[in-house]
Protein backbone atom coordinates (compact mmCIF):
# COMPACT_ATOMS: atom_id res chain seq x y z
CA UNK A 1 0.00 0.00 0.00
CA UNK A 2 1.20 3.52 -0.70
CA UNK A 3 2.88 5.25 2.20
CA UNK A 4 0.85 8.43 1.79
CA UNK A 5 -2.48 6.68 2.21
CA UNK A 6 -1.95 5.95 5.85
CA UNK A 7 -1.93 9.58 6.78
CA UNK A 8 -4.91 11.76 7.42
CA UNK A 9 -7.46 9.33 8.76
CA UNK A 10 -7.08 11.17 12.05
CA UNK A 11 -4.58 13.86 12.62
CA UNK A 12 -4.16 13.48 16.34
CA UNK A 13 -1.44 10.99 17.21
CA UNK A 14 -2.65 7.98 19.18
CA UNK A 15 -1.15 8.26 22.64
CA UNK A 16 0.80 5.14 23.49
CA UNK A 17 -0.70 2.86 26.08
CA UNK A 18 -4.02 4.65 26.14
CA UNK A 19 -6.77 2.15 25.43
CA UNK A 20 -10.14 3.93 25.27
CA UNK A 21 -10.05 7.66 25.78
CA UNK A 22 -13.68 8.74 25.10
CA UNK A 23 -12.55 11.96 23.41
CA UNK A 24 -10.36 9.98 21.09
CA UNK A 25 -13.24 7.63 20.25
CA UNK A 26 -15.56 10.55 19.46
CA UNK A 27 -12.78 12.17 17.45
CA UNK A 28 -12.25 9.01 15.40
CA UNK A 29 -15.97 8.55 14.83
CA UNK A 30 -16.50 12.15 13.73
CA UNK A 31 -13.50 12.04 11.48
CA UNK A 32 -14.53 8.71 9.95
CA UNK A 33 -18.13 9.78 9.52
CA UNK A 34 -17.16 12.94 7.68
CA UNK A 35 -14.81 11.00 5.43
CA UNK A 36 -17.55 8.38 4.88
CA UNK A 37 -19.67 10.63 2.67
CA UNK A 38 -17.32 10.02 -0.25
CA UNK A 39 -17.22 6.30 0.47
CA UNK A 40 -21.02 6.30 0.31
CA UNK A 41 -21.07 8.19 -2.98
CA UNK A 42 -18.43 5.90 -4.47
CA UNK A 43 -20.30 2.77 -3.36
CA UNK A 44 -23.65 4.09 -4.58
CA UNK A 45 -22.11 4.48 -8.03
CA UNK A 46 -20.92 0.87 -7.95
CA UNK A 47 -24.22 -0.50 -6.66
CA UNK A 48 -26.21 1.42 -9.29
CA UNK A 49 -24.10 -0.05 -12.09
CA UNK A 50 -24.36 -3.52 -10.57
CA UNK A 51 -28.07 -3.21 -9.90
CA UNK A 52 -29.00 -2.19 -13.44
CA UNK A 53 -26.54 -4.30 -15.44
CA UNK A 54 -25.58 -7.12 -13.03
CA UNK A 55 -22.01 -6.35 -14.05
CA UNK A 56 -19.34 -5.75 -11.40
CA UNK A 57 -17.33 -2.69 -12.35
CA UNK A 58 -13.79 -3.71 -11.50
CA UNK A 59 -12.59 -0.39 -12.95
CA UNK A 60 -14.54 1.59 -10.35
CA UNK A 61 -11.56 2.65 -8.24
CA UNK A 62 -9.53 3.46 -11.33
CA UNK A 63 -12.28 5.75 -12.59
CA UNK A 64 -12.13 7.41 -9.18
CA UNK A 65 -8.35 7.89 -9.40
CA UNK A 66 -8.79 9.45 -12.83
CA UNK A 67 -11.27 11.88 -11.30
CA UNK A 68 -8.67 12.68 -8.63
CA UNK A 69 -6.13 13.47 -11.35
CA UNK A 70 -8.72 15.59 -13.15
CA UNK A 71 -9.25 17.55 -9.91
CA UNK A 72 -5.48 17.83 -9.57
CA UNK A 73 -5.11 19.07 -13.17
CA UNK A 74 -7.91 21.57 -12.60
CA UNK A 75 -6.28 22.85 -9.44
CA UNK A 76 -2.68 22.99 -10.66
CA UNK A 77 -3.22 24.08 -14.29
CA UNK A 78 -6.36 26.17 -14.11
CA UNK A 79 -6.53 27.16 -10.47
CA UNK A 80 -9.95 25.55 -9.97
CA UNK A 81 -10.63 24.55 -6.38
CA UNK A 82 -11.62 20.85 -6.22
CA UNK A 83 -14.75 21.81 -4.29
CA UNK A 84 -15.86 23.51 -7.50
CA UNK A 85 -13.97 21.27 -9.92
CA UNK A 86 -15.85 18.16 -8.80
CA UNK A 87 -18.69 19.22 -11.10
CA UNK A 88 -16.39 19.08 -14.11
CA UNK A 89 -14.85 15.80 -13.00
CA UNK A 90 -18.33 14.29 -12.61
CA UNK A 91 -19.36 15.55 -16.06
CA UNK A 92 -16.26 14.12 -17.74
CA UNK A 93 -16.70 10.80 -15.96
CA UNK A 94 -20.38 10.76 -17.00
CA UNK A 95 -19.35 10.94 -20.65
CA UNK A 96 -16.56 8.41 -20.14
CA UNK A 97 -18.93 6.03 -18.36
CA UNK A 98 -21.50 6.32 -21.13
CA UNK A 99 -18.82 5.58 -23.75
CA UNK A 100 -17.38 2.63 -21.80
CA UNK A 101 -20.85 1.11 -21.45
CA UNK A 102 -21.80 1.63 -25.09
CA UNK A 103 -18.50 0.51 -26.57
CA UNK A 104 -17.51 -2.31 -24.22
CA UNK A 105 -19.86 -3.33 -21.43
CA UNK A 106 -22.90 -3.52 -23.69
CA UNK A 107 -21.22 -6.38 -25.57
CA UNK A 108 -20.84 -8.56 -22.48
CA UNK A 109 -24.01 -7.82 -20.49
CA UNK A 110 -25.39 -11.27 -21.35
CA UNK A 111 -22.01 -13.06 -21.34
CA UNK A 112 -20.90 -15.48 -18.60
CA UNK A 113 -19.49 -13.87 -15.43
CA UNK A 114 -15.90 -14.86 -16.15
CA UNK A 115 -16.00 -13.00 -19.47
CA UNK A 116 -17.43 -9.91 -17.78
CA UNK A 117 -14.73 -10.02 -15.10
CA UNK A 118 -11.98 -10.32 -17.73
CA UNK A 119 -13.24 -7.33 -19.66
CA UNK A 120 -13.71 -5.12 -16.59
CA UNK A 121 -10.27 -6.08 -15.23
CA UNK A 122 -8.88 -5.14 -18.65
CA UNK A 123 -10.54 -1.73 -18.46
CA UNK A 124 -9.10 -1.29 -14.96
CA UNK A 125 -5.59 -2.15 -16.17
CA UNK A 126 -5.81 0.24 -19.10
CA UNK A 127 -7.04 3.08 -16.88
CA UNK A 128 -4.36 2.47 -14.26
CA UNK A 129 -1.53 2.27 -16.75
CA UNK A 130 -2.57 5.28 -18.79
CA UNK A 131 -2.65 7.22 -15.50
CA UNK A 132 0.84 5.93 -14.77
CA UNK A 133 2.09 7.09 -18.18
CA UNK A 134 0.30 10.42 -17.96
CA UNK A 135 0.99 11.38 -14.34
CA UNK A 136 3.87 9.20 -13.13
CA UNK A 137 4.05 7.03 -10.01
CA UNK A 138 4.59 9.73 -7.36
CA UNK A 139 1.78 10.28 -4.89
CA UNK A 140 -0.11 13.50 -5.52
CA UNK A 141 -2.55 15.51 -3.51
CA UNK A 142 -4.65 18.53 -4.25
CA UNK A 143 -4.21 21.57 -2.06
CA UNK A 144 -7.13 23.76 -1.14
CA UNK A 145 -7.31 26.46 1.55
CA UNK A 146 -10.20 24.61 3.19
CA UNK A 147 -8.08 21.66 4.31
CA UNK A 148 -5.91 24.00 6.38
CA UNK A 149 -8.89 25.25 8.38
CA UNK A 150 -10.27 23.53 11.46
CA UNK A 151 -13.08 23.94 13.96
CA UNK A 152 -13.08 22.83 17.55
CA UNK A 153 -16.29 21.49 19.02
CA UNK A 154 -15.18 21.36 22.64
CA UNK A 155 -12.31 18.91 22.70
CA UNK A 156 -13.23 17.45 19.30
CA UNK A 157 -11.49 18.73 16.24
CA UNK A 158 -13.37 19.05 12.92
CA UNK A 159 -11.40 19.43 9.72
CA UNK A 160 -13.29 21.95 7.53
CA UNK A 161 -12.18 20.19 4.34
CA UNK A 162 -13.80 16.99 5.54
CA UNK A 163 -16.90 18.83 6.62
CA UNK A 164 -17.35 20.39 3.16
CA UNK A 165 -16.57 17.09 1.45
CA UNK A 166 -19.16 15.39 3.62
CA UNK A 167 -21.80 18.06 3.01
CA UNK A 168 -21.34 17.95 -0.77
CA UNK A 169 -21.32 14.14 -0.83
CA UNK A 170 -24.56 14.02 1.16
CA UNK A 171 -26.16 16.65 -1.07
CA UNK A 172 -25.20 14.64 -4.17
CA UNK A 173 -26.56 11.45 -2.61
CA UNK A 174 -29.88 13.19 -1.91
CA UNK A 175 -29.98 14.58 -5.45
CA UNK A 176 -29.34 11.10 -6.81
CA UNK A 177 -32.15 9.57 -4.78
CA UNK A 178 -34.51 12.30 -5.97
CA UNK A 179 -33.44 11.48 -9.52
CA UNK A 180 -33.95 7.74 -9.03
CA UNK A 181 -37.29 8.03 -7.24
CA UNK A 182 -38.88 11.03 -8.97
CA UNK A 183 -37.61 11.33 -12.55
CA UNK A 184 -38.82 9.13 -15.37
CA UNK A 185 -35.31 8.02 -16.39
CA UNK A 186 -34.44 7.27 -12.76
CA UNK A 187 -37.56 5.17 -12.35
CA UNK A 188 -36.70 3.27 -15.51
CA UNK A 189 -33.26 2.53 -14.01
CA UNK A 190 -34.90 1.14 -10.88
CA UNK A 191 -37.32 -0.85 -13.03
CA UNK A 192 -34.49 -2.42 -15.06
CA UNK A 193 -32.67 -3.21 -11.80
CA UNK A 194 -35.84 -4.74 -10.35
CA UNK A 195 -36.83 -6.84 -13.38
CA UNK A 196 -34.86 -6.39 -16.59
CA UNK A 197 -37.12 -8.68 -18.64
CA UNK A 198 -40.25 -6.97 -17.33
CA UNK A 199 -38.77 -3.61 -18.29
CA UNK A 200 -38.06 -4.86 -21.80
CA UNK A 201 -41.58 -6.24 -22.17
CA UNK A 202 -43.16 -2.85 -21.47
CA UNK A 203 -40.93 -1.20 -24.06
CA UNK A 204 -38.08 0.23 -21.99
CA UNK A 205 -34.99 0.89 -24.08
CA UNK A 206 -32.85 -1.23 -21.78
CA UNK A 207 -29.59 -0.51 -23.65
CA UNK A 208 -30.05 3.24 -23.36
CA UNK A 209 -31.05 3.05 -19.70
CA UNK A 210 -28.02 0.83 -19.00
CA UNK A 211 -25.63 3.27 -20.66
CA UNK A 212 -27.15 6.14 -18.66
CA UNK A 213 -26.90 4.12 -15.44
CA UNK A 214 -23.22 3.42 -16.09
CA UNK A 215 -22.73 7.11 -16.84
CA UNK A 216 -24.47 8.20 -13.64
CA UNK A 217 -22.53 5.60 -11.62
CA UNK A 218 -19.26 6.88 -13.11
CA UNK A 219 -20.29 10.48 -12.39
CA UNK A 220 -20.91 9.54 -8.73
CA UNK A 221 -17.47 8.01 -8.36
CA UNK A 222 -16.05 10.96 -10.33
CA UNK A 223 -17.53 13.47 -7.90
CA UNK A 224 -16.37 11.31 -4.98
CA UNK A 225 -12.84 11.21 -6.40
CA UNK A 226 -12.57 14.95 -6.91
CA UNK A 227 -14.04 15.64 -3.46
CA UNK A 228 -11.62 13.30 -1.73
CA UNK A 229 -8.55 14.46 -3.68
CA UNK A 230 -7.63 17.11 -1.06
CA UNK A 231 -7.93 14.57 1.78
CA UNK A 232 -6.30 11.47 0.38
CA UNK A 233 -2.92 11.35 -1.36
CA UNK A 234 -3.22 9.22 -4.50
CA UNK A 235 -1.19 7.51 -7.18
CA UNK A 236 -2.27 5.17 -10.00
CA UNK A 237 -2.37 1.94 -7.92
CA UNK A 238 -4.72 3.62 -5.44
CA UNK A 239 -7.50 2.61 -7.85
CA UNK A 240 -7.30 -1.07 -6.97
CA UNK A 241 -7.50 -0.30 -3.28
CA UNK A 242 -10.54 1.93 -3.80
CA UNK A 243 -12.21 -0.75 -5.91
CA UNK A 244 -11.70 -3.28 -3.13
CA UNK A 245 -13.09 -0.86 -0.55
CA UNK A 246 -16.10 -0.19 -2.81
CA UNK A 247 -16.85 -3.92 -3.17
CA UNK A 248 -16.48 -4.31 0.56
CA UNK A 249 -18.99 -1.54 1.24
CA UNK A 250 -21.47 -2.78 -1.34
CA UNK A 251 -21.37 -6.31 0.04
CA UNK A 252 -21.73 -5.06 3.61
CA UNK A 253 -24.69 -2.89 2.61
CA UNK A 254 -26.30 -5.58 0.42
CA UNK A 255 -25.68 -5.96 -3.32
CA UNK A 256 -27.75 -3.54 -5.36
CA UNK A 257 -29.17 -1.67 -2.34
CA UNK A 258 -28.69 2.10 -2.52
CA UNK A 259 -29.49 2.64 1.15
CA UNK A 260 -27.10 -0.20 1.96
CA UNK A 261 -24.29 1.42 -0.04
CA UNK A 262 -24.92 4.72 1.73
CA UNK A 263 -24.97 3.28 5.25
CA UNK A 264 -22.15 0.86 4.40
CA UNK A 265 -19.93 3.73 3.25
CA UNK A 266 -20.34 5.57 6.54
CA UNK A 267 -19.91 2.39 8.57
CA UNK A 268 -16.75 1.24 6.81
CA UNK A 269 -15.21 4.70 7.05
CA UNK A 270 -15.91 4.92 10.80
CA UNK A 271 -14.53 1.39 11.29
CA UNK A 272 -11.37 2.26 9.36
CA UNK A 273 -10.96 5.44 11.36
CA UNK A 274 -11.34 3.63 14.69
CA UNK A 275 -8.97 0.91 13.50
CA UNK A 276 -6.38 3.48 12.46
CA UNK A 277 -6.47 5.12 15.90
CA UNK A 278 -6.75 2.13 18.19
CA UNK A 279 -4.82 -0.51 16.31
CA UNK A 280 -2.49 0.88 13.74
CA UNK A 281 -3.06 3.09 10.68
CA UNK A 282 -1.94 0.25 8.41
CA UNK A 283 -4.64 -2.02 9.88
CA UNK A 284 -7.60 -0.02 8.64
CA UNK A 285 -8.27 -2.43 5.76
CA UNK A 286 -8.08 -5.32 8.18
CA UNK A 287 -10.79 -3.67 10.26
CA UNK A 288 -13.12 -3.17 7.33
CA UNK A 289 -12.63 -6.77 6.20
CA UNK A 290 -13.30 -7.97 9.72
CA UNK A 291 -16.52 -5.93 9.61
CA UNK A 292 -17.38 -7.59 6.28
CA UNK A 293 -16.87 -11.08 7.72
CA UNK A 294 -18.94 -10.35 10.81
CA UNK A 295 -21.81 -8.85 8.84
CA UNK A 296 -21.85 -11.68 6.32
CA UNK A 297 -21.98 -14.19 9.18
CA UNK A 298 -24.94 -12.41 10.77
CA UNK A 299 -26.72 -11.29 7.59
CA UNK A 300 -25.51 -13.17 4.50
CA UNK A 301 -27.37 -10.77 2.17
CA UNK A 302 -25.75 -7.71 3.73
CA UNK A 303 -27.36 -5.05 5.93
CA UNK A 304 -30.06 -4.00 3.46
CA UNK A 305 -29.84 -6.83 0.92
CA UNK A 306 -32.93 -8.79 0.03
CA UNK A 307 -31.18 -11.99 -0.98
CA UNK A 308 -27.75 -13.52 -0.91
CA UNK A 309 -26.11 -13.51 -4.31
Amino acid sequence: MAEGLRAEQVRLPAPQGLILDPVLVVQAVVSGLLFGGVYSLMAIGLTLIFGVMRVVNFAHGDLMVWAMYLAWLGATRFGVDPYVGFVGAAAILFVAGFAIQRQLVDRIVDAPHEMQILLMLGVALVLENTALVAFGPEPQRVRTPLTQAALWLGPVFVDVGRLVTFAVAIALTLALSLFLYRSDIGRQMRAVADNGYGAQVIGTDVRRISALAFAVGAACVGAAGALVAPLLPFQPPTGLQLSVTSFNIVIIGGMGSLLGAFMGGLLVSVAESLGAVFLNPSMKELVSFALLVVILLVRPAGLFGRRAI
Binding site: D184, R187, Q188, R190, A191, D194, N195, Y197, G198, A199, Q200, V201, I202, G203, T204, D205, R306
Partner: protein, 236 residues
Protein backbone atom coordinates in the same frame (compact mmCIF):
# COMPACT_ATOMS: atom_id res chain seq x y z
CA UNK B 1 -58.15 -4.99 -43.03
CA UNK B 2 -56.48 -7.01 -40.31
CA UNK B 3 -54.77 -5.07 -37.53
CA UNK B 4 -52.25 -7.88 -36.95
CA UNK B 5 -51.15 -10.41 -39.53
CA UNK B 6 -48.67 -13.25 -39.15
CA UNK B 7 -47.57 -14.88 -42.36
CA UNK B 8 -45.72 -18.22 -42.27
CA UNK B 9 -43.83 -17.28 -39.11
CA UNK B 10 -41.13 -19.62 -37.84
CA UNK B 11 -39.34 -19.03 -34.51
CA UNK B 12 -36.53 -21.12 -33.09
CA UNK B 13 -34.44 -21.28 -29.93
CA UNK B 14 -31.06 -22.21 -31.34
CA UNK B 15 -31.79 -25.30 -33.45
CA UNK B 16 -35.06 -26.07 -31.68
CA UNK B 17 -37.95 -24.80 -33.79
CA UNK B 18 -40.75 -23.79 -31.39
CA UNK B 19 -43.18 -22.20 -33.87
CA UNK B 20 -43.33 -23.34 -37.49
CA UNK B 21 -45.28 -21.80 -40.32
CA UNK B 22 -47.87 -19.98 -38.23
CA UNK B 23 -50.21 -17.66 -40.12
CA UNK B 24 -52.98 -15.79 -38.35
CA UNK B 25 -54.86 -12.50 -38.35
CA UNK B 26 -56.48 -10.35 -35.70
CA UNK B 27 -59.01 -7.83 -36.98
CA UNK B 28 -59.55 -4.40 -35.47
CA UNK B 29 -61.88 -4.67 -32.47
CA UNK B 30 -61.71 -8.45 -32.27
CA UNK B 31 -60.95 -10.58 -29.22
CA UNK B 32 -58.97 -13.53 -30.53
CA UNK B 33 -57.70 -16.42 -28.42
CA UNK B 34 -54.75 -18.74 -28.97
CA UNK B 35 -55.28 -21.96 -27.06
CA UNK B 36 -53.16 -25.05 -26.74
CA UNK B 37 -51.41 -27.20 -24.20
CA UNK B 38 -48.13 -26.54 -22.44
CA UNK B 39 -45.17 -26.22 -24.81
CA UNK B 40 -47.32 -25.70 -27.92
CA UNK B 41 -45.57 -22.42 -28.79
CA UNK B 42 -48.12 -19.84 -27.54
CA UNK B 43 -45.66 -17.77 -25.50
CA UNK B 44 -43.09 -17.95 -28.27
CA UNK B 45 -45.64 -16.57 -30.74
CA UNK B 46 -46.45 -13.59 -28.48
CA UNK B 47 -42.79 -12.89 -27.85
CA UNK B 48 -42.10 -12.85 -31.58
CA UNK B 49 -44.91 -10.34 -32.13
CA UNK B 50 -43.51 -8.17 -29.28
CA UNK B 51 -40.03 -8.04 -30.76
CA UNK B 52 -38.60 -10.02 -27.83
CA UNK B 53 -37.68 -12.81 -30.27
CA UNK B 54 -36.80 -12.50 -33.93
CA UNK B 55 -38.61 -14.89 -36.30
CA UNK B 56 -36.33 -17.04 -38.39
CA UNK B 57 -38.75 -16.90 -41.32
CA UNK B 58 -41.99 -15.24 -42.34
CA UNK B 59 -43.38 -11.79 -41.68
CA UNK B 60 -45.40 -9.99 -39.03
CA UNK B 61 -47.42 -6.92 -39.95
CA UNK B 62 -49.20 -4.48 -37.67
CA UNK B 63 -51.55 -1.91 -39.14
CA UNK B 64 -50.16 -2.64 -42.60
CA UNK B 65 -46.49 -2.13 -41.70
CA UNK B 66 -43.92 -4.82 -41.15
CA UNK B 67 -42.83 -5.10 -37.47
CA UNK B 68 -40.71 -8.24 -37.31
CA UNK B 69 -37.14 -7.14 -36.71
CA UNK B 70 -38.16 -4.08 -34.69
CA UNK B 71 -37.01 -3.82 -31.07
CA UNK B 72 -39.55 -4.38 -28.30
CA UNK B 73 -39.58 -0.67 -27.47
CA UNK B 74 -40.40 0.15 -31.11
CA UNK B 75 -43.20 -2.43 -31.10
CA UNK B 76 -44.68 -0.85 -27.95
CA UNK B 77 -44.35 2.48 -29.75
CA UNK B 78 -46.47 1.14 -32.62
CA UNK B 79 -49.29 0.35 -30.18
CA UNK B 80 -48.87 -3.25 -29.01
CA UNK B 81 -48.79 -3.93 -25.27
CA UNK B 82 -47.86 -7.32 -23.84
CA UNK B 83 -48.97 -8.74 -20.48
CA UNK B 84 -46.31 -11.45 -20.15
CA UNK B 85 -46.51 -14.90 -18.66
CA UNK B 86 -45.77 -14.63 -14.94
CA UNK B 87 -46.75 -10.92 -14.88
CA UNK B 88 -43.14 -9.66 -14.67
CA UNK B 89 -43.94 -6.71 -12.43
CA UNK B 90 -41.37 -4.58 -10.62
CA UNK B 91 -41.77 -6.12 -7.16
CA UNK B 92 -39.92 -3.51 -5.09
CA UNK B 93 -41.72 -0.58 -6.72
CA UNK B 94 -45.17 0.66 -5.78
CA UNK B 95 -48.31 -0.23 -7.70
CA UNK B 96 -48.52 3.38 -8.86
CA UNK B 97 -44.93 3.34 -10.13
CA UNK B 98 -45.54 0.04 -11.93
CA UNK B 99 -48.54 1.53 -13.68
CA UNK B 100 -46.85 4.82 -14.52
CA UNK B 101 -43.87 2.98 -15.98
CA UNK B 102 -46.25 1.41 -18.49
CA UNK B 103 -46.80 4.81 -20.14
CA UNK B 104 -43.68 4.64 -22.28
CA UNK B 105 -44.60 6.47 -25.48
CA UNK B 106 -44.92 10.29 -25.60
CA UNK B 107 -48.65 10.02 -26.33
CA UNK B 108 -49.18 7.62 -23.43
CA UNK B 109 -47.20 9.88 -21.12
CA UNK B 110 -49.24 12.90 -22.11
CA UNK B 111 -52.47 11.03 -21.31
CA UNK B 112 -51.04 9.36 -18.21
CA UNK B 113 -53.21 10.76 -15.44
CA UNK B 114 -56.41 10.19 -17.39
CA UNK B 115 -55.48 6.63 -18.26
CA UNK B 116 -54.57 6.02 -14.63
CA UNK B 117 -58.08 7.04 -13.62
CA UNK B 118 -59.65 4.62 -16.06
CA UNK B 119 -57.36 1.81 -14.89
CA UNK B 120 -58.41 2.45 -11.27
CA UNK B 121 -61.98 2.53 -12.50
CA UNK B 122 -61.51 -0.89 -14.09
CA UNK B 123 -59.59 -2.30 -11.10
CA UNK B 124 -60.62 -0.38 -7.95
CA UNK B 125 -58.44 -2.72 -5.91
CA UNK B 126 -55.33 -1.24 -7.57
CA UNK B 127 -56.42 2.26 -6.58
CA UNK B 128 -56.76 1.18 -2.96
CA UNK B 129 -53.29 -0.36 -3.03
CA UNK B 130 -51.50 2.20 -5.17
CA UNK B 131 -48.87 2.91 -2.46
CA UNK B 132 -48.19 -0.75 -1.74
CA UNK B 133 -45.20 -2.56 -3.26
CA UNK B 134 -46.24 -4.67 -6.25
CA UNK B 135 -44.43 -7.67 -4.77
CA UNK B 136 -46.76 -7.62 -1.76
CA UNK B 137 -49.97 -7.99 -3.81
CA UNK B 138 -51.95 -11.24 -4.09
CA UNK B 139 -51.68 -13.19 -7.34
CA UNK B 140 -54.93 -11.79 -8.70
CA UNK B 141 -54.01 -8.23 -7.80
CA UNK B 142 -50.63 -8.70 -9.46
CA UNK B 143 -52.38 -9.83 -12.63
CA UNK B 144 -54.60 -6.74 -12.49
CA UNK B 145 -51.48 -4.62 -12.03
CA UNK B 146 -49.82 -6.24 -15.05
CA UNK B 147 -52.92 -5.64 -17.18
CA UNK B 148 -53.19 -2.07 -15.88
CA UNK B 149 -49.54 -1.45 -16.68
CA UNK B 150 -50.10 -2.63 -20.25
CA UNK B 151 -53.22 -0.45 -20.60
CA UNK B 152 -51.19 2.58 -19.51
CA UNK B 153 -49.39 2.31 -22.87
CA UNK B 154 -52.75 3.10 -24.58
CA UNK B 155 -52.38 0.04 -26.80
CA UNK B 156 -54.38 -0.62 -29.94
CA UNK B 157 -53.60 -4.31 -29.48
CA UNK B 158 -53.46 -5.82 -25.99
CA UNK B 159 -51.78 -9.24 -25.81
CA UNK B 160 -52.09 -11.38 -22.68
CA UNK B 161 -50.18 -14.56 -21.89
CA UNK B 162 -52.16 -16.87 -19.60
CA UNK B 163 -53.65 -14.27 -17.28
CA UNK B 164 -55.60 -17.00 -15.45
CA UNK B 165 -52.50 -18.96 -14.43
CA UNK B 166 -52.45 -19.76 -10.72
CA UNK B 167 -55.59 -17.75 -9.88
CA UNK B 168 -58.71 -18.85 -8.02
CA UNK B 169 -61.73 -19.36 -10.31
CA UNK B 170 -63.55 -16.31 -8.89
CA UNK B 171 -60.57 -14.13 -9.68
CA UNK B 172 -60.28 -15.60 -13.19
CA UNK B 173 -63.93 -14.72 -13.76
CA UNK B 174 -63.38 -11.14 -12.60
CA UNK B 175 -60.32 -10.70 -14.81
CA UNK B 176 -62.05 -12.15 -17.86
CA UNK B 177 -65.06 -9.87 -17.30
CA UNK B 178 -62.64 -6.94 -17.32
CA UNK B 179 -61.01 -8.14 -20.53
CA UNK B 180 -64.43 -8.27 -22.17
CA UNK B 181 -65.00 -4.70 -21.03
CA UNK B 182 -61.63 -3.48 -22.32
CA UNK B 183 -62.44 -5.10 -25.64
CA UNK B 184 -65.95 -3.58 -25.78
CA UNK B 185 -64.36 -0.18 -25.12
CA UNK B 186 -62.44 -0.55 -28.36
CA UNK B 187 -59.12 -2.28 -27.64
CA UNK B 188 -58.27 -5.27 -29.81
CA UNK B 189 -57.25 -8.26 -27.69
CA UNK B 190 -55.10 -11.31 -28.40
CA UNK B 191 -55.42 -13.75 -25.51
CA UNK B 192 -53.23 -16.80 -24.93
CA UNK B 193 -54.79 -19.36 -22.59
CA UNK B 194 -54.61 -22.92 -21.37
CA UNK B 195 -57.96 -22.40 -19.67
CA UNK B 196 -59.65 -23.41 -22.91
CA UNK B 197 -63.30 -23.30 -21.90
CA UNK B 198 -63.13 -19.81 -20.42
CA UNK B 199 -61.05 -18.48 -23.30
CA UNK B 200 -63.43 -19.90 -25.91
CA UNK B 201 -66.46 -18.45 -24.13
CA UNK B 202 -64.84 -15.02 -24.04
CA UNK B 203 -63.38 -14.75 -27.54
CA UNK B 204 -64.83 -14.10 -30.98
CA UNK B 205 -62.43 -16.42 -32.76
CA UNK B 206 -59.63 -18.75 -31.74
CA UNK B 207 -56.58 -20.58 -33.04
CA UNK B 208 -55.57 -23.94 -31.62
CA UNK B 209 -51.81 -24.33 -31.48
CA UNK B 210 -50.28 -27.82 -31.30
CA UNK B 211 -46.54 -28.51 -31.48
CA UNK B 212 -45.80 -25.12 -32.96
CA UNK B 213 -48.39 -25.22 -35.74
CA UNK B 214 -52.02 -24.19 -36.02
CA UNK B 215 -54.10 -27.35 -35.79
CA UNK B 216 -57.51 -25.71 -35.94
CA UNK B 217 -59.05 -22.28 -36.19
CA UNK B 218 -62.50 -20.80 -36.33
CA UNK B 219 -65.20 -18.74 -34.65
CA UNK B 220 -65.97 -19.42 -31.03
CA UNK B 221 -69.20 -21.36 -31.45
CA UNK B 222 -67.74 -23.75 -33.97
CA UNK B 223 -64.74 -24.50 -31.74
CA UNK B 224 -66.92 -24.89 -28.64
CA UNK B 225 -68.92 -27.51 -30.52
CA UNK B 226 -65.88 -29.25 -32.01
CA UNK B 227 -65.61 -32.90 -30.94
CA UNK B 228 -61.81 -32.92 -31.06
CA UNK B 229 -61.57 -29.88 -28.81
CA UNK B 230 -64.11 -31.32 -26.40
CA UNK B 231 -62.06 -34.49 -26.12
CA UNK B 232 -58.59 -32.91 -25.97
CA UNK B 233 -59.16 -29.76 -23.96
CA UNK B 234 -62.55 -29.72 -22.31
CA UNK B 235 -62.45 -33.22 -20.89
CA UNK B 236 -65.86 -34.24 -22.25
Amino acid sequence: MALLRLDDVEVAYGDMVAVRGVSMTVGTGELVAIIGSNGAGKTTTLRAISGLLRPRRGRIEFDGARIDGLTSSDVVGRGIAHVPEGRQLFPTMSVLENLELGARTPAARAARDGTLKSVFDLFPRLGERRRQLAGSLSGGEQQMCAIGRALMALPRLLMLDEPSLGLAPVMVGAIFDNLARVNRDGTTVLLVEQNVLRALRLCHRAYVLENGTIALEGPRDRLLADEGIKRAYLGR
